[in-house]
Symmetry: C2
């Protein structure tokens, strides 16, 4: 029954009921964190075998005979580039391996464009205005890099098969100050959307006015499928090349949610021309990244098939958690007209939309009862969700029982806040 | 016998003799690299036990119970900060652990000052002129960071107990555009000089006109003693604090030449106020560095005493190499007046000065006979040694027999080039 059709009296009755339930939830003294896409300990256990791939008796040479213990190999050892090229859907020659954090690569990539410019074009620091397209809702850490460098933004809404391409085509063609666009193309953060083949092709065929416009393709969840029958993502770099825009995309990925979250491999892929330019700058920054960890990863996973097999084990752990949350939503909220939510088939998040103007209050109510959610608004640049509606749910870390309690609490808070909002509106 | 006192005829005779020797050296088809301060494989073997400190059965929590496999802990786990604080001679609260490369930290530190400024002061990108003091001869990678950011330099000569402090005091007091100074205070690269207590104290008491002036204290060789009776370095941060300049220094160090060169730990130390500012920026850059490697290092070395004991093993390998090179110089060049050289008691380099105008040619002769040295000039900003005299020798990587051959060749090239130069001067 839609709460929106209820009379004031009916709503007040519901409010009383929910308030009682809320108080008894508080008495449970929950202490749960669903705020960040953090693998659970059981997921990290899956990777412990990586610690046995070599020991003090091992030879630590790469396949081409390079001693991984020593200096050198700025772009990463060959087999690590091969491994990551599988995730990045590129050739190893188009790949550079960095340290453990793809966020750090993205930061560096923006920072380099800001201080030195791309292909000899004006460094962004010397331009009056630089803006990015921010697909919303999106990833807070992408947005905060922009804020840090004083880069502006234009929000573009996410649709069912990717961002609103009509808007994007128009924006980049008209506005030379638009220099980039963050994308999480597969199981987008937080919506779990997969960009359709058509969306990717339209993106690759963009005609940006800014010659240094780049698509920042953060394929964070490229192999993070929850189900065996998953949808393939069309490769943007190949499409860009076909469309005559070979240099228009930087791709990023990491093993942070594949191997050890606190000690994985991060990498980027781009056209050879981009990679050459980036390597020239990278020379000033380091002698080389951690090759021991590169070797550890390649000896454990072997190749992309090894990674895919490993990801199936992650899915076995994660799938019940995602399904538990969406089933709870279904059970508690279905038909109430108080919220809608995604049912992602991969990635790390469920995206939930409350009635307009309720998200912040819902998050605050949850917090008061011991469940920490990502702050409402975090999925928008500057933390401002104009509709105060989107909440990002990260179900990976808590155990399944905790998750059940937390989801039930969340549903209750949504109902309580919604009912109160509706009562106010009756006046 | 000083070659400078010989007659033209005597010099021509020597030239003939050296030329014959040079040709027979060429016939040996040497293929050696003394260009970079790279540990030898036997040094890397010393650390293999680090690969046994944990395996798939281990609990990978830090001492305070943090799961090192997961996200978080931006500043590094407590015990890693304790370990590195021993090398950095600071308290753990003044330390941030990064990835594997201290060069990368230094790059980031300059980059941050360039884009965002220090303590709210004008970012360097917005200043007309920014300069660094470069102590020469010095480390090429320090200088190339400046070049990359278009930062100018003023060369200040290295004296016996550190750089020329009279010059430095005057420069920083007068010139507001001087924002920094690179220092390798212990076993300086390439001279092997240790800054005296007096030098450190004068440095700490500088009265720079620029309030965002910082000393970039790259203590790369802080525990890299070749002999048991080593000189202690006075701590700059403590002295700065005493002198009323608590925020004037950033300290850097890594385990690149302690544990695995291609997979060590790098860290920085500074006043708590500096560390707070840096952590705020670091938040935009990463969720956290590789904590697995932090745990690996702390479980292997335990503490600074563990590191000191380990460095004695390195010294056993390195000392004979350094002594072989300087003994060869002594034997072949002593009294010829063609070169002078340092006899470092630690670090990774021997610094050699040829007669003015000979270094480039000597390096070219060596290369033609199969021995690669650091390019002449590399120890000066922009690769320009005004006297074309300094050559940096890195004796760590080759085996002792190869090193003997290479040193003999180098001496021969010095003698041949010097004699030819002197003959030319006779005309």
């Amino acid at each position: 029954m839609s709460y929106k059709t209820l009379s004031k009296e009916e709503l007040i009755k519901l409010e009383e009921k929910f308030e009682k339930q809320y108080i008894s939830f508080k008495d449970k003294n929950l202490k749960l964190d669903m705020s960040r896409g953090k693998p659970g300990p059981d997921q990290l256990d899956l990777c412990m075998g990586m610690l046995d791939v070599f020991n003090s008796k091992s030879i630590l040479n790469s396949e081409d005979g390079f001693d991984c213990r020593n200096y050198g190999c700025l772009e990463g050892i060959r087999e690590a580039r091969e491994l990551m090229s599988g995730i990045l859907d590129s050739s190893p020659d188009e790949v550079i391996i960095y340290g453990n954090s793809s966020l750090n690569i993205m930061y560096d990539t923006v920072s380099r464009s800001y201080t030195h410019g791309i292909f000899g074009m004006t460094p962004w620091k010397d331009l009056k205005e630089v803006k990015f397209i921010c697909i919303v809702p999106g990833y807070d850490r992408h947005f905060s890099i922009l804020r840090h460098f004083g880069i502006g933004y234009v929000n573009v809404p996410m649709l069912k098969d990717g961002p609103d391409m009509d808007m994007i085509e128009k924006l980049v063609a008209e506005d030379e100050s638009i220099k980039g666009m963050w994308c999480v193309p597969k199981y987008s953060n937080p919506d779990g959307t997969i960009y359709s083949d058509k969306t990717v092709k339209r993106m690759a065929a963009l005609k940006p006015r800014a010659k240094d416009f780049r698509i920042y393709w953060d394929n964070a969840y490229g192999v993070h499928n929850l189900y065996d029958d998953y949808e393939e993502l069309t490769d943007i770099l190949r499409e860009c090349s076909k469309a005559g825009n070979p240099d228009m995309v930087y791709k990023f990925a990491s093993t942070s949610k594949i191997s050890f979250t606190g000690g994985g491999l991060a990498a980027m892929a781009a056209s050879k021309k981009n990679i050459e330019e980036i390597k020239k700058q990278l020379f000033f920054q380091t002698i080389g990244h951690d090759k021991m960890n590169q070797l550890r990863h390649t000896r454990f996973f072997k190749d992309i098939e090894g990674i895919r097999a490993h990801m199936k084990k992650h899915a076995l752990i994660l799938r019940p958690k995602f399904e538990m949350v969406t089933a709870t939503f279904e059970k508690e909220l279905s038909g109430t007209d108080t919220a809608s939510w995604t049912k992602p088939r991969g990635g790390y998040f469920i995206s939930l939309n409350t009635m307009e103007g309720c998200a912040k209050e819902v998050v605050a109510y949850c917090k008061d009862a011991g469940v920490v959610l990502t702050p409402a608004g975090a999925t928008f640049p500057d933390g401002i969700d104009p509709e105060d509606s989107n909440i990002r749910i990260a179900p990976s870390y808590p155990g399944i029982d905790e998750l059940k309690a937390a989801s039930e609490l969340l549903c209750l808070c949504i109902k309580l806040v919604s009912v109160r909002k509706l009562i106010k509106n009756c006046k």
